[in-house]
C-alpha cells in the first residue's frame, strides 16, 4: 500500500469513527447537562463540597465558582510539584524549581499542557497521576462547563441563571470524561501503551540493555488526548513508543482529540433546538481543519524545502512508524484542538507545513478546538459574523433569536481581542530582549518562528512547541505562564458573562427578514470571519517568520 493510499484510508477511518459517535455522544452530553437526576457518586461529591446541586447560579456566581475552583487547582498542583519528594513513588526525584512549577501548574490547570520539563526525568509517578492526570480531567471539564453555560444562554430566555458550575463540572467529569477515558485507556493498553509503576529494562538495538522509565502511561495518555490537554508522560510525547506504539494507537489518539469537540456541536444543536445549526458550525470547523490538513500534508509529502528535497523525503523529526501522512494528520489535529500533543517535531516540518500548523493555532483554536473551548470559540466567531452580516440584511443583528447589542458586542470584542493581544505583546517583548536570541535554537526567520510559536501556543492554550527554543529561563517560564493564564480565563469570564446576558434576553421570533444562520452561506461566513480576523492580526508576524522562510526555500 502506498503512503498516499494508507494516508487517505487513515483519514477516512478517522472521519467514519467520528461520524459514528457524533449523534450518540452529542445527545448523551445534551442529556447529561439537562438531566434533573443526580447519580449517587455525584450526591456524595456535592455533600463533601457542601453544594446544593439544585441551586442555579447567575453568570456572576458561575464565574466566581469557576475562578475559585481554578485558583485552588493551581495552588494544589503547585504544592504537589514543589513537594513531590514527600509523595510515594517519587522515583527519588526532587521538587520542581518554583518558576517551572508555576509554569507547569498554570499550564495544566489552563488545559494548555505546555511542558518546559521532561516528564520522565522530572516527575514521580504519583505527581503525574495525582497532579497532572487529575488536572487533565478537570481542566477539560471546566471548558465543557463554560461551553454548556453559553449554550444555555442561547437555549434559555428571560432567565437570570445559567445552571450550576459545580454540577456541570461534576457531571462533565463523572458522566462524560471519566467513562470515555476508561474505555480509551483500555484500548490504548491493548494497543501496547504501558501502564505500570516501575521502569522497564529493554534490550537495546546494540545488544546491551537499557532502562526506560515506565509509569501509569495509558491512563494519563487517554485523558491527555480526550481532554485536549496534550501534556506527555514522556518528553517525546506521542512520538515515544510507550505512549504511542503503533499506527493504530496513533489513529486512536487523533480520534480522541477530536471526538468531544466535534460531538459538542451536536450537543449544542440539540439543546438550542436546531441540529442543522450545530452541523453548520461543525462544517465551518471541518473546513478549517481540512484546509490546514491539505496544505500541511501537501507541504510535508511534497518535501518542501531544500533539505527535504536533498534527502528525498521530509522525514527529519518524524517517526518512521507514522510517516509523513500520519504526522501531518496528528500535527493539524493537535493544533486545531488546542491539544498540543505531538508525534513529530513541528520544528522540523517544512516551512510551509510548520507555518500552517502555527497559523492553525492563530485561528483561535476553533477547528474544532479544545473540549468546550472550541464550541464557545466558534460561537463567538458566529456572533461576530452575524453582527456584520445581520446589519447587511437590514436588521439589528441576532443569532438564534438573541439580539447582539452593545453589551454582547463588548464581551465578543474583548474575547476576540485578548488572545491576539497576548500573543503579539508576548512576541514583541520577547523579541526585543537580547537574551531571546540566545534562547533560540536557530538564527533568522526560523528562530523568530520558535518565539512566535511559543507565545501562540501558550496564549491559545495549545501547549505544543516548535522545539529548538530553550524556555527554561525565568522570563519565559513566567511570561508564558501569564499568557496561558490570561489566555484561558479572561475569555472564559467573558464567555460566561456573555451567556448570562444572552440568557436574560427574551427570544426574538424568526421571520423571513431574519438572517438565516443554519445555512451553507453562513457557515462560509463564519469561516471567512475566523480566517480574516487572524490573517489581519498575524499577517506581518507570519510574513517575517514562516512566510519569509517558505518563500526563500532556504535551509534553516
Amino acid at each position: 500500500m502506498s503512503d498516499t493510499v494508507s494516508g487517505l484510508l487513515t483519514i477516512a477511518a478517522l472521519l467514519t469513527l467520528l461520524a459514528v459517535v457524533y449523534v450518540p455522544l452529542g445527545d448523551h452530553m445534551a442529556r447529561v447537562f439537562t438531566s434533573t437526576r443526580h447519580l449517587r457518586v455525584e450526591r456524595a461529591l456535592y455533600r463533601v463540597g457542601g453544594i446544593d446541586p439544585d441551586a442555579e447560579q447567575s453568570a456572576r456566581g458561575y464565574v466566581l465558582s469557576l475562578v475559585a475552583f481554578s485558583v485552588v487547582s493551581i495552588v494544589l498542583l503547585l504544592a504537589i510539584l514543589v513537594g513531590q519528594a514527600a509523595l510515594p513513588w517519587d522515583r527519588g526525584l526532587p521538587g520542581m524549581p518554583w518558576d517551572m512549577a508555576v509554569n507547569t501548574a498554570v499550564s495544566f490547570v489552563t488545559n494548555t499542557n505546555w511542558q518546559s520539563y521532561a516528564g520522565e526525568s522530572t516527575l514521580g509517578f504519583a505527581t503525574q497521576a495525582l497532579g497532572l492526570t487529575v488536572q487533565n480531567v478537570v481542566s477539560a471539564a471546566v471548558g465543557l462547563a463554560v461551553a454548556v453555560a453559553l449554550v444555555r444562554g442561547f437555549a434559555r430566555a428571560e432567565s437570570s441563571t445559567l445552571g450550576s458550575f459545580w454540577v456541570d463540572l461534576v457531571r462533565g467529569t463523572v458522566r462524560v470524561l471519566l467513562p470515555l477515558a476508561l474505555v480509551a485507556a483500555v484500548l490504548l493498553l491493548l494497543g501496547g501503551v504501558v501502564q505500570n509503576l516501575s521502569d522497564v529494562t529493554v534490550r537495546a538495538l546494540g545488544g546491551g540493555t537499557q532502562v526506560v522509565p515506565g509509569g501509569l502511561v495509558a491512563s494519563q495518555e487517554a485523558v491527555k488526548q480526550l481532554g485536549t490537554n496534550g501534556g506527555g508522560f514522556f518528553n517525546a510525547n506521542s512520538a515515544h513508543p510507550f505512549e504511542n506504539p503503533t499506527a493504530l494507537t496513533n489513529l486512536l489518539q487523533v480520534f480522541l482529540m477530536l471526538v468531544v469537540p466535534v460531538s459538542l456541536t451536536r450537543t449544542f444543536g440539540t439543546l438550542v433546538g436546531s441540529r442543522r445549526q450545530g452541523l453548520v458550525l461543525l462544517g465551518a470547523m471541518g473546513v478549517l481543519w481540512a484546509g490546514a490538513l491539505a496544505v500541511t500534508t501537501w507541504a510535508e509529502v511534497g518535501g518542501q524545502g531544500q533539505a527535504a528535497q536533498a534527502a528525498g523525503a521530509a522525514m527529519e523529526g518524524k517517526e518512521t512508524r507514522f510517516g509523513e501522512w500520519a504526522s501531518a494528520l496528528f500535527a493539524v489535529s493537535t493544533t486545531g484542538t488546542s491539544t498540543g500533543a505531538v508525534n513529530a517535531s513541528h520544528d522540523s516540518m517544512s516551512p510551509l507545513g510548520g507555518g500552517t500548523v502555527m497559523a492553525h493555532m492563530m485561528l483561535g483554536e476553533v477547528s474544532p478546538g479544545g473540549v468546550g473551548s472550541g464550541l464557545y470559540g466558534i460561537l463567538v466567531a458566529a456572533i461576530l459574523a452575524v453582527f456584520v452580516a445581520g446589519l447587511m440584511v437590514g436588521r439589528t443583528p441576532e443569532l438564534l433569536g438573541k439580539k447582539i447589542g452593545s453589551r454582547e458586542m463588548t464581551y465578543v470584542a474583548l474575547y476576540t481581542l485578548v488572545v491576539p493581544a497576548l500573543v503579539l505583546v508576548g512576541i514583541g517583548t520577547a523579541i526585543a530582549l537580547p537574551s531571546t536570541a540566545d534562547a533560540m535554537g536557530n538564527p533568522g526567520g526560523h528562530g523568530f518562528s520558535e518565539v512566535v510559536y511559543a507565545f501562540t501556543s501558550a496564549a491559545n492554550n495549545n501547549g505544543s512547541a516548535f522545539g529548538g527554543i530553550t524556555v527554561t529561563s525565568t522570563f519565559f517560564q513566567l511570561t508564558l505562564a501569564a499568557a496561558m493564564l490570561l489566555g484561558r480565563f479572561v475569555p472564559i469570564v467573558l464567555v460566561v458573562l456573555l451567556a448570562g446576558s444572552l440568557a436574560r434576553q427574551r427570544r426574538v421570533p424568526t421571520t423571513a427578514g431574519t438572517l438565516p444562520t443554519a445555512t451553507l452561506l453562513f457557515g462560509g461566513l463564519v469561516v471567512g470571519v475566523v480566517l480574516l480576523v487572524s490573517a489581519l492580526t498575524f499577517f506581518p508576524t507570519l510574513a517575517l517568520g514562516p512566510v519569509a522562510e517558505a518563500l526563500t526555500g532556504a535551509p534553516r
Partner: protein, 676 residues
C-alpha cells in the same frame, strides 16, 4: 441666505462644506469617533517626523493622513448641511408673530407670540399666522401648512374631533378660528423639528454603539499588531521608520466606516425628513428596521376609507323603490361620506334630479350616537326612519330580523361589505325595509406592498372597528396577514403587548387622542401631523403628510440605514487584505528579498506602495460618501438573498477593489520624483 439643498450636486456640497470639515479637525470633536481620533494622532506624529527628517515620501504621507481626517469630517459636514438647509426653511416660518389673546370675558388683547402660555386662547383670522401649537376650539378654517409639510394644498382645521390640531407657523387662509395654545413658546412642534433636523440632539443609537465597540477593538488589535512589528522588524534587520508604521496603522484600522458612520446615521434621519417623516430619535429609525409587525388602520390606510353604498336589497314585501326612498330620506341629514353615498346611489337609481326632494319641514334628524349606533330622521307625520348595524336595528325594532334580511346581511358581510339596515316605525309598528350594501374599496397598490412586506418577513395586522366577518373579507382582498376586528383602543394595546412579549417589534400609526397609549407602547409609533397633540407627544415619529401608508417607507428607510452601516463595515474590513499585500512586502523586502513574491500588485517601489495604499485609503472615503448619504439600495427580498447580494458587492468587492485602486494610484505616484 445660502442654501444647500438636495438639488445642489454633491461635488458642490463637498466644496461648500470644506470650511466646516476643517473646523471639525478640533480633537475634542474627533474624540467622538475613536478611529478617526487615532488617524488624527497619526497625522500629527507623521507631521512631526516629516519636519524633523524631511523627505518627499514623509511629507506626502503626512499630507494624505491629514486629508484622510478631513475627508471623514467632510462626509459628516455634508450630511449635516442637508439637515441645516431643511432647518433654515423651517426657521423662516418661525418669524416673530403677534397674537390676539382672548380673555375670559371675551375681550381681545394683542401680545407677542413669545408671551403666550399653555391654555391661552387666541383668535386667528384669514391671512394671519397661527402663533403657536394648539387645538381649534371654535370655528372652521382652511390652513396653509406648506411651511411645515411642503404640501401646497390647504387643509381644513375645525373644532372638535381629530382634525382640530394646528401648528404654529402655519397660516390661516380663510375664515376665523379660536385656538387653545398647547405648547409653550420654544417648545413648539416647529422648534422641536428644527433641532431634530439640525441634528443638535443627535446621540449614538444602540446599534451604533455596538458597532463602535467592534471598531474600537479592531483598532486596538491593529495598534498592537503595528506596535509589535517594530521590535520584530528590528530583529529581522529591517528597522521601520515611524512614518511607515503610522501609515500601516491608518491603512489597517477601519477608517472607511469610522469616517462615514455618523454621516450614515444623519443621512438616514434626513431620508426620513425627505419623505416628510420626523423621527424624534435615531433609536426609533433603527427600531423601524427591526419591526416585524405592522399595525395598520383599515380606514384611510388600506381602504380609501369612504365606504360607499353599492346596492339596495329590499326585505320581503317591500318594493325596491320604497326602500330606496326611505334610505334616501334617512340619509339626507347625514353628511358623512357614507350617508352621502346612499343619497347619491338613491338618486342615481331613481333617476331623480338633483338630490331629490329635500327633508320636509319639521323633520327631526336623529344623530348617530355610540349608544343607539343608528341615525335617521323623525318625520312630521310620525314616521320614524332609522338606519344602522343589524344588531342595533334589531334592538330598536324589538323583534328578530326577517330571515331573508339576515341572509342578505350575512352575504354582504361575507363579500367584505357592510350591511346597513333600514327600518321604519309607523304608529308603534316597526318594520325592517331592507339592507344597503356598503362597500369598502381597497386602495390601489396595497396588495403588492403587503406582498413585499411579507417577503421582508413583516407581518401586517389590519385594525378595524368592523365586525370580524367584514374585516376578514377586506383583509383577504388586501392581502394582510391578520385582522383585529371590532377593535377598541384597549384591544390595540393588548395586541401590541402580546406581539412584544413574543419578542416582535411593533410599528403603528395613529392620530386620535385615544391612540396615544398604543402609540407610546409601540416600538415605532408614527403620529399624523394632523392628529391631536396627545398623539404627537406619544409617538416617536411624526408624519407631516398624515399619510398612514408611510409606515412602509419608514420601515424601508430603517432597514436601509442598517444595511448601509453593515455594508460599509464589511467593505472597510475587506479592504485591509490588499493593503497588507501592498505594505508588508514593501516594509520587509530589504530584509527578506523573497517577500517580494507577496508584492502581487507589482508596485513600483516600497515608498510608492505605501503611499499608494494611504492615498487609496483616503480617497475611498470620498468615493463612498454618496453611498453613505443615499444609502445602499434596499430591496424587498428575503434576508438570505439580500445577504448574498450585499456580501458579493461589499465583501468580495471590498477585497478586489483596493487591489485595482492601489495599483492604479501606484502607476501615477511612481512618476513623482523622490518616490520613485
Amino acid at each position: 441666505m445660502t442654501r444647500t439643498s438636495a438639488a445642489t450636486p454633491l461635488s458642490r456640497q463637498l466644496v461648500q462644506q470644506l470650511p466646516a470639515a476643517l473646523r471639525k479637525l478640533d480633537p475634542r470633536h474627533l474624540w467622538r469617533s475613536p478611529v478617526m481620533f487615532v488617524v488624527w494622532i497619526g497625522s500629527l506624529v507623521t507631521t512631526v517626523s516629516a519636519v524633523v527628517d524631511p523627505s518627499v515620501f514623509a511629507v506626502a504621507i503626512a499630507v494624505w493622513l491629514w486629508l484622510t481626517v478631513v475627508f471623514g469630517n467632510l462626509a459628516e459636514a455634508v450630511a449635516e448641511g442637508r439637515g441645516k438647509a431643511q432647518a433654515d426653511s423651517l426657521r423662516a416660518a418661525r418669524t416673530d408673530v403677534t397674537a390676539r389673546r382672548v380673555a375670559a370675558d371675551g375681550s381681545e388683547s394683542v401680545v407677542a407670540g413669545t408671551e403666550l402660555a399653555v391654555g391661552d386662547l387666541v383668535r386667528v383670522s384669514a391671512g394671519e399666522v397661527i402663533p403657536g401649537d394648539g387645538d381649534v376650539v371654535e370655528g372652521v378654517a382652511t390652513v396653509d401648512e406648506s411651511a411645515i409639510t411642503g404640501e401646497s394644498a390647504p387643509v381644513v382645521r375645525e373644532a372638535g374631533g381629530d382634525r382640530s390640531a394646528v401648528t404654529g407657523g402655519t397660516r390661516v387662509l380663510s375664515d376665523e378660528i379660536v385656538v387653545r395654545i398647547t405648547s409653550a413658546p420654544g417648545e413648539t412642534f416647529l422648534d422641536r423639528m428644527i433641532s431634530l433636523v439640525e441634528g443638535a440632539e443627535r446621540r449614538k443609537t444602540p446599534n451604533e454603539i455596538a458597532l463602535s465597540i467592534l471598531l474600537v477593538s479592531l483598532t486596538i488589535i491593529f495598534l498592537l499588531a503595528v506596535v509589535t512589528i517594530s521590535p520584530m522588524a528590528d530583529y529581522a534587520g529591517a528597522p521601520q521608520p515611524t512614518v511607515v508604521l503610522v501609515a500601516l496603522l491608518v491603512c489597517l484600522i477601519p477608517t472607511t466606516i469610522g469616517a462615514l458612520l455618523s454621516a450614515i446615521g444623519i443621512a438616514g434621519m434626513d431620508r426620513l425628513v425627505r419623505v416628510n417623516v420626523l423621527a424624534m430619535s435615531g433609536r426609533a429609525v433603527e427600531a423601524a428596521g427591526d419591526v416585524s409587525t405592522l399595525l395598520l388602520d383599515k380606514t384611510g390606510t388600506i381602504t380609501y376609507g369612504n365606504r360607499r353604498a353599492s346596492r339596495f336589497v329590499p326585505a320581503e314585501g317591500v318594493t325596491l323603490a320604497e326602500l330606496t326612498e326611505a334610505a334616501r330620506i334617512a340619509s339626507l341629514a347625514d353628511l358623512t361620506p357614507e350617508g352621502r353615498s346612499i343619497v347619491d346611489l338613491a338618486v342615481a337609481d331613481t333617476g331623480a334630479t338633483g338630490t331629490g326632494a329635500p327633508l320636509p319641514d319639521g323633520a327631526e334628524p336623529v344623530e348617530f350616537t355610540a349608544q343607539t349606533r343608528m341615525s335617521g330622521v323623525d318625520l312630521p307625520d310620525g314616521r320614524e326612519l332609522r338606519k344602522g348595524a343589524g344588531s342595533a336595528v334589531e334592538a330598536w325594532s324589538g323583534a328578530a330580523l326577517p330571515a331573508e334580511v339576515g341572509a342578505a346581511g350575512y352575504e354582504i358581510s361575507m363579500s367584505g361589505g357592510t350591511p346597513l339596515l333600514v327600518a321604519e316605525r309607523r304608529a308603534g309598528d316597526t318594520r325592517v325595509l331592507g339592507v344597503v350594501h356598503l362597500k369598502d374599496v381597497v386602495k390601489e397598490g396595497m396588495v403588492e406592498r403587503f406582498a413585499e412586506l411579507r417577503r421582508m418577513g413583516i407581518r401586517t395586522v389590519m385594525v378595524t372597528g368592523d365586525n370580524a366577518l367584514t374585516a376578514r373579507a377586506i383583509a383577504a382582498e388586501a392581502g394582510v396577514d391578520d385582522v383585529l376586528a371590532e377593535a377598541t383602543p384597549e384591544d390595540k394595546m393588548r395586541l401590541i403587548r402580546e406581539e412584544q412579549s413574543g419578542g416582535r417589534l411593533v410599528a403603528m400609526t395613529g392620530d386620535g387622542t385615544n391612540d396615544a397609549p398604543a402609540l407610546a407602547a409601540a416600538d415605532v409609533g408614527v403620529a399624523m401631523a394632523s392628529g391631536t397633540s396627545a398623539a404627537k407627544e406619544a409617538g416617536n415619529m411624526v408624519d407631516l403628510d398624515s399619510d398612514p401608508t408611510k409606515l412602509i417607507d419608514v420601515v424601508r428607510i430603517g432597514k436601509q440605514l442598517l444595511i448601509t452601516r453593515g455594508a460599509l463595515t464589511t467593505f472597510s474590513i475587506a479592504n485591509d487584505l490588499a493593503k497588507y499585500f501592498a505594505i508588508v512586502p514593501a516594509m520587509f523586502v530589504t530584509a527578506y528579498p523573497s517577500l517580494d513574491a507577496l508584492n502581487v500588485m507589482r508596485l513600483a517601489t516600497p515608498e510608492s506602495a505605501i503611499l499608494s495604499a494611504v492615498i487609496f485609503n483616503a480617497l475611498v472615503i470620498v468615493g463612498l460618501i454618496p453611498v453613505a448619504l443615499k444609502g445602499v439600495r434596499s430591496r424587498a427580498a428575503d434576508a438570505a438573498s439580500v445577504l448574498r447580494r450585499n456580501l458579493l458587492v461589499f465583501g468580495v468587492g471590498g477585497v478586489v477593489v483596493p487591489f485595482v485602486g492601489i495599483k492604479l494610484i501606484d502607476l501615477l505616484v511612481s512618476q513623482i520624483p523622490g518616490i520613485r
